[in-house]
């Protein structure tokens, strides 16, 4: 699905991402962990062609993301509130995103039914613009908009951070069910080691822009990670 080849990105002499080679096969759920400043968000932005790599290339389905726009058709991402159009109502935003993927209003409405529990009654028909929603609810809008696109590649930056416990668990369940149903490749970053080890098949540990560990999740993974982060 994704290949990162010899990619380097640095700001003012600080290398923030430096990945010689990384392949991500279709249908895997990858967890990205690492302390602040490890380069997780920068890596995501590189994958989405939002920043230019100093060196190397990123291939999505064998095509360079910086050279074509084909990846936009099957990639959905939510990194921060900067992905939401905040003066729209949540419904308008969903219809807008749906439209970008040739989904009719009815398709979108039908899809949103699955999110009733996740939205917990505080998003649809709330009479608010997205900018007036709480951070957690904004995040829910973002993630639902991603799933609405039926993506083949899903990228989420710290999805658990702003959610309440029930929503976190619902999200864990949704993510786990995803690849089985639709062969989706998922990339998430998180500081929550429990959730990450529960959801992900494979965990990448980043430190100062490098991937220093690449682990297939087993029963011992959580312990291994905890011992790394222990101070």
């Amino acid at each position: 699905m994704l290949s990162i080849i010899d990619t380097v990105k640095s700001y003012n002499g600080n290398t923030v991402v430096n990945i010689p080679q990384l392949d991500i096969p279709t249908g895997e759920i990858i967890g990205l962990v690492g302390n602040n400043g490890a380069g997780k968000t920068t890596l995501f932005r590189l994958l989405l062609d939002l920043i230019r790599a100093d060196k190397g290339e990123i291939l999505s389905k064998e095509k360079n993301v910086a050279a074509t726009e084909d990846w936009k058709k099957y990639t959905a991402a939510y990194l921060d509130e900067g992905f939401l159009i905040n003066y729209l109502t949540p419904e308008e935003y969903f219809y807008f995103i749906g439209k970008l993927h040739q989904l009719s209003k009815a398709d979108v409405d039908e899809f949103l039914q699955y999110f009733e529990a996740f939205f917990d009654g505080s998003i649809l028909n709330s009479g608010k613009y997205i900018r007036d929603l709480s951070k957690g609810n904004q995040f829910k809008v973002g993630i639902a908009a991603c799933l609405l696109q039926k993506p083949e590649l899903l990228i989420l930056d710290e999805p658990f951070a702003n959610l309440d416990p029930s929503s976190q668990m619902r999200l864990v369940r949704m993510l786990k069910e995803l690849p089985a149903q639709q062969r989706v490749t998922v990339l998430i970053s998180s500081h929550d080691l429990n959730h990450v080890t529960e959801v992900c098949h494979r965990i990448l540990l980043m430190e100062k822009g490098r991937i220093i560990k690449d682990i297939d999740t087993t029963a011992d993974t959580l312990q291994e990670l905890e011992s790394y982060f222990e101070v």
């Binding site: 932005r45 989405l48 062609d49 939002l50 920043i51 230019r52 726009e69 936009k72 058709k73 990639t75 959905a76 991402a77 990194l79 921060d80 509130e81 900067g82 992905f83 939401l84 159009i85 905040n86 003066y87 729209l88 109502t89 419904e91 308008e92 219809y95 807008f96 995103i97 439209k99 970008l100 993927h101 009479g127 608010k128 613009y129 900018r131 007036d132 696109q149």
Partner: protein, 491 residues
């Protein structure tokens, strides 16, 4: 403690992105403000002279005194519309170990730092020294100045109090306006003359300076009232107005345009739901009347008709000129999201062209009434309109690819220079003056109609080449896409 808080405010003013961005803009703004204050001060010094001239042989102190209440009525209305409540600035301190009454005192003191509090001093103090002191002695002048100071304080805190009240209940708003209207009506029918009561009160004060205790009491009472109210209401959630229900809207008629239509709908919502772009829409409406300034008899007699091109471009292109300044920057809050979602760049750029064409055409049709003044104007506006949708639209999108400065949509429009940079200045000049490169020589040496035909014709040709332009602009945008994205992320 209060000094520390004030120093934080000072820092927040100078370090806000809005202020810190460009030194040139700061200097210009500073000059404008200094100029305004100097004019007011000059007016204050000129009062004695002016009053002598307008009311020869009369007691000018009485006359000036009769205007003071009028001034404060105006002051009250001004404050109500422009003075902002300094309430949000306490948010980070509420959780800290600072007594509430200190925060409230801080809020009150902070509120005094407003130019409206300087204006009455500038206006009336020179007069006190020049005219009142010689006539009524030092005590009279001192009483007068003190009264002005405390009436200003009174007005300041009264309005802040009423404004805070209106946030909680809109009945206060209705009551406030009803009172103002009542005063105007009573004054108009001479039932209760503001002028008379003003001159009576102040002349009384001048002969018996001890009466200054009344304005002092009023001022202190207003301060204390505000203090007491804030102390009881310093909670985060209560400062927030009850929001109106927001409803979803669909522009079904835009659906037929496919993805571009969807993007246009996005721009329309952006304009209707955010303060600053909404202001630009109002500007478009106002500038439709711009023709009345230039389409005069004398100008119509001028055989070269130089000015009409400029006017026409302005009237039919005001939207391109103003909205286009920040064409992509309006979307800066979520540009990351737009650029990584399934929107092809050609469709994005085409939607901008469609928006420009639509709005300019609407403006062209609405302003065709100028044709009633002279049929010539219809032709010149037609040429200007074609030039706008054909060429200016292209220049606008091209320059948008050089604009790396973000816009925060939540900020209001007045005195907001955020996101303004060199590109914006170049932009306005390029849009308005560039056509004269073709127009002027033709109009001067050949024939003005040939010149208009050339400008309009070029616009039309360029309009027909739009698909070709889209390809070029996409290529140009790709070159600077990362710079634009990085700039917009930096808020």
């Amino acid at each position: 403690m209060i000094l520390t808080l004030l120093s934080h405010q000072w820092k927040s003013f100078w370090r806000s992105r809005n202020a810190g961005r460009s030194l040139a803009i700061q200097i210009v703004l500073g000059l404008i403000i200094a100029y305004l204050l100097a004019s007011i001060l000059a007016l204050g010094f000129a009062f004695p002279h002016m009053l002598h001239k307008f009311y020869p042989g009369q007691d000018i102190i009485r006359i000036l005194c009769s205007y003071i209440f009028y001034y404060y009525s105006f002051d009250v209305v001004m404050r109500f519309t422009v003075q902002e409540l300094p309430v949000l600035s306490t948010q980070p301190y509420l959780g800290q170990n600072i007594p509430k009454r200190k925060l409230v005192a801080f809020l009150n003191i902070r509120a005094l730092f407003h130019f409206l509090n300087l204006v009455p001093l500038f206006l009336f103090v020179p007069f006190a020294f020049m005219e009142i002191a010689p006539a009524y002695g030092a005590a009279g002048a001192a009483g007068f100045i003190t009264a002005i100071i405390f009436l200003t304080i009174f007005s300041n805190f009264l309005i802040l109090y009423i404004k805070r009240r209106t946030i909680i209940s809109s009945w206060w708003l209705a009551g406030f306006f009803a009172t103002i209207v009542a005063f105007i009506v009573l004054d108009y029918f001479h039932v209760l003359s503001l002028g008379k009561s003003s001159s009576n009160s102040f002349l009384r004060l001048l002969s018996a300076p001890a009466l200054v205790l009344i304005p002092i009491t009023l001022g202190l009472a207003a301060w204390f009232n505000n203090y007491r109210f804030l102390l009881g209401n310093l909670y985060l959630d209560e400062g927030v107005k009850e929001e109106k229900e927001k409803s979803s809207r669909e522009y079904t008629w835009l659906r037929q345009l496919g993805l571009s239509g969807e993007l246009i709908a996005l721009d329309i919502k952006l304009m209707l739901r955010n303060k600053r772009p909404k202001y630009i829409l109002r500007l478009c409406a106002i500038f439709m009347a711009y023709g009345f300034v230039f389409y005069t008899k004398e100008n119509l007699k001028n055989p070269h008709m130089y000015l009409f091109l400029f006017t026409g471009i302005f009237i039919t292109g005001i939207f391109i000129i103003n909205y286009g300044q920040f064409l992509f920057a309006w979307h800066s809050n979520y540009f990351d999201g737009l650029m990584s979602s399934n929107i092809s760049l050609p469709a994005w750029i085409r939607s901008k062209f469609m928006l420009y064409t639509a709005v300019s055409t609407i403006l062209f049709i609405l302003t065709s009434f100028y044709g009633l003044i002279s049929w010539k104007l219809l032709v010149t506006q037609l040429a200007a309109w074609l030039y706008n949708i054909g060429i200016n639209s292209v220049i606008s999108v091209y320059l948008a690819t050089y604009n790396y400065k973000a816009i925060d949509l939540s900020k209001s429009a007045t005195f907001n220079y955020q996101g303004t940079g060199v590109v914006q200045w170049v932009y306005s000049f390029a849009l308005i003056l560039a056509p004269y490169l073709i127009f002027y020589p033709l109009a001067r040496f050949v024939d003005p109609w040939v010149a208009y035909a050339a400008v309009g014709g070029l616009g039309l040709i360029s309009l027909l080449l739009q698909n070709w332009w889209v390809d070029i602009l996409v290529r140009e945008f790709r070159k600077r896409k990362y710079l634009v994205l990085a700039g917009f992320r930096e808020k």
